[in-house]
């Protein structure tokens, strides 16, 4: 689907429903939303500026974070197993595209990691996610090996 913003307070609540499970992520998420609140994107009067998209364990079947242009603001990746998994984000509306890759993150331990783009990373076509067993391959991560997580996105124009 295209970007569909919600009230930033509701977006924050929904984001923390996921982020709260990782103690190392929580204080960072608090700081990030504080920044957004003070610097524009999440002010109370700036309505419907943020969208939270949860995703389940990545495989090589693309999960669509956003089906049209949008900015990626934050990406929380919770890895449930110690089997190496490479989470890959691409600028595509429906599928993963290796030539349009924007973010790749290897995880090989049970842990939660987080990437922040305070001004957002523009994806002109869409935002999709897959998880593979290798950096330079497309073999699917086995069920449960790919990271699950949550993405925070904003409209393309919101910088």
């Amino acid at each position: 689907m295209a970007f569909s913003g919600s009230d930033p307070v509701l977006a924050k609540q929904r984001f923390f429903n996921f982020a709260r499970i990782a103690p190392g992520i929580y204080p960072l998420a608090v700081a990030f939303f504080s920044y957004l609140t003070q610097n524009g994107l999440a002010r109370p009067q700036a309505e419907n500026t943020l969208q939270v998209v949860e995703f389940t364990y990545g495989t090589n079947t693309a999960q669509v974070i956003c089906g049209a242009t949008a900015r990626l603001l934050a990406l929380v990746l919770a890895k449930p197993t110690a089997t190496a998994g490479f989470t890959k984000i691409s600028d595509h509306a429906t599928d993963y595209s290796g030539s349009a890759i924007t973010v790749m993150l290897k995880q090989a331990a049970v842990q939660t990691d987080v990437l922040f783009y305070p001004k957002g990373l523009l994806h002109s076509t869409g935002i999709t996610l897959e998880s593979h067993t290798a950096c330079d391959g497309t073999t699917t991560s086995a069920a449960g090996d790919g990271a699950a997580g949550v993405a925070l996105i904003a409209a393309a124009a919101a910088v």
Binding site: P23, G24, V114, L121
Partner: protein, 151 residues
């Protein structure tokens, strides 16, 4: 060089010498607070770098743990900062651990609260595409800081 840690308070002071944006400052304050309160207060090593290109910048030669990466981009020409678990050489294979696109003059941040184990080392490069190896020109590659702890 191999990991060479210092007291986390001194590391924090050095870390904050980097020209951090407002958002990066807040995030890093929260991260150091977490490290000191719940993260085991590890000894840390700060490694600054300037304008990554296709020539490897070596952050660590030996085992260690990656805690955070701060990428400060000064141009709007797209660049992909890429990091590999190696002591000398970047290769686009399974040693690659992180790849981040930037296309704004901005500061972006990657945090590993529990650390990302590095078996061999840490090197970084910057390319003009996510899948290629053409070097980022001049100042297009990110400047920044990496935060390390012992293995």
């Amino acid at each position: 060089m191999a990991f060479s840690g210092q007291d986390p308070i001194l590391a924090k002071r050095r870390f904050f010498h980097a020209p951090l944006s407002a958002a990066a400052y807040q995030l890093c304050m929260a991260f150091f607070s977490w490290l000191n309160q719940q993260g085991g207060k590890p000894d840390l090593q700060i490694v600054e770098f300037t304008n990554l290109t296709a020539t490897e910048t070596i952050f660590l030669a030996g085992t260690g743990t990656l805690r955070a990466v701060v990428l400060i981009k000064s141009t709007t020409t797209a660049a992909w900062a890429k990091f590999a678990d190696h002591n000398t050489t970047y290769t686009d294979n399974d040693t690659e651990i992180l790849k981040v696109k930037q296309s704004l003059a901005t500061t972006d941040l990657m945090f590993y609260p529990k650390g990302k184990a590095l078996a061999t080392g840490l090197v970084g490069v910057s390319h003009t595409t996510g899948a290629g190896t053409t070097t980022s020109a001049g100042t297009d590659g990110a400047t920044g800081v990496v935060l390390l702890s012992a293995a």
